[in-house]
Symmetry: C2
Subunit: 210 residues, 2 copies
């Protein structure tokens, strides 16, 4: 809750940080498309022009939220993966964390995939995502002999983890702890299955038995 003065107006707080916080709140209620600078201003009790002292436009605020999302995810991911030994188990844990993170912080996940941010105009987003990519790459490389196989495996794992999140949100009936755990477990199992049969990702087409 941001600090307010007796007159109800915003005071001596960090408006920039408060805007990010409020944006996440609004997105949680109305989705990314339902977020507006005006709404954030209203909730914080500041003038509609105040946010523009901190963000050039709406997209820059959303980009800041995206950066926050990647930083938070890495902060959760890093210790969890560190407790596992072996690249396969680490990749499974990565998938589990990915689903758990998306479920626990849906607004942040939404910003990453539905805000329609132009990454070329907001390079800070990819900078924030880099440590996560590095972690994935390191695990995959530890499993693959050739470079081409590493690329194929990495994209397959990325697609699968993301797909499980989308599937989870689609069946949004119950989002209790049990449902989340089930979705996370499925993502982890799929990860292990892809790793075990990773040779199928690169073998020439005519050697595939169908």
């Amino acid at each position: 809750m941001p600090a307010r003065g007796k007159d109800g107006r915003y005071h001596h707080g960090d408006l920039r940080a408060a805007l990010i916080e409020t944006a996440i709140e609004v997105i949680g209620e109305r989705g990314v498309r339902g977020f507006s600078m005006a709404e954030a201003s209203r909730r914080l009790g500041v003038a509609v022009s105040a946010p523009y002292a901190h963000f050039a436009d709406r997209d820059e605020l959303l980009a800041a939220v995206a950066v926050h999302a990647y930083q938070l995810f890495y902060a959760e991911l890093s210790p969890a993966v560190g407790q596992v030994t072996g690249p396969a188990g680490q990749l499974a844990e990565l998938a589990r964390c990915y689903v758990r993170f998306a479920a626990a912080h849906r607004p942040l996940f939404e910003v990453l995939y539905e805000a329609g941010l132009d990454k070329a105009r907001h390079p800070e987003i990819e900078t924030a995502a880099a440590p996560i990519d590095d972690l994935l790459s390191a695990c995959v490389r530890a499993l693959s002999d050739d470079q081409a196989g590493a690329g194929e495996l990495a994209s397959a794992l990325e697609a699968t983890a993301n797909g499980h999140v989308v599937l989870f949100f689609d069946n949004c009936a119950g989002q209790d702890e049990q449902t989340v755990a089930q979705a996370a477990e499925r993502a982890a199992r799929s990860t292990l299955a892809l790793i075990e049969s990773r040779h199928l990702l690169t073998r020439p087409h005519d050697q595939l038995r169908l």
Copy 2:
């Protein structure tokens, strides 16, 4: 191109169908969030109130687009899968078709996953999707001994195919035929890998070697 009279106004056409067509066009240019009833009216040269004679509101028009999407996908999918023998090959073909469809009809795919339609309020969408689900279920059942395994495999395949589409759109650099074929092939390979190691999707956790 919808029929128009000499005065430039819309005539004797099927405005309902024209609205769906125009919606797809607009979504292709501006995304789902950029679509509005007013914009569609403008492009068709009709009054902004005209669409409301055919659709109660914006969401109902988008729901009609979603129904069209599922019908078209099934029409493409059915013959392609029919040319393949064996459930594993059919599931791989399904994944390939899924990616190809999304790439060829991005606006339709967007409506399905980004329009934020309340499926409870638009049951016709799930009705249109049913034949596709049935096809997937039939193939999966032909591969699985137990019912639980079938469910796990089905959701893993669904997640993976969808994830490959999202990944493809994310790296939207080139959407030429070659890039599409590569993404479709990756989805098919991942499908075969998951099928081959499907035992990992159900085995109890303590029997997993990490």
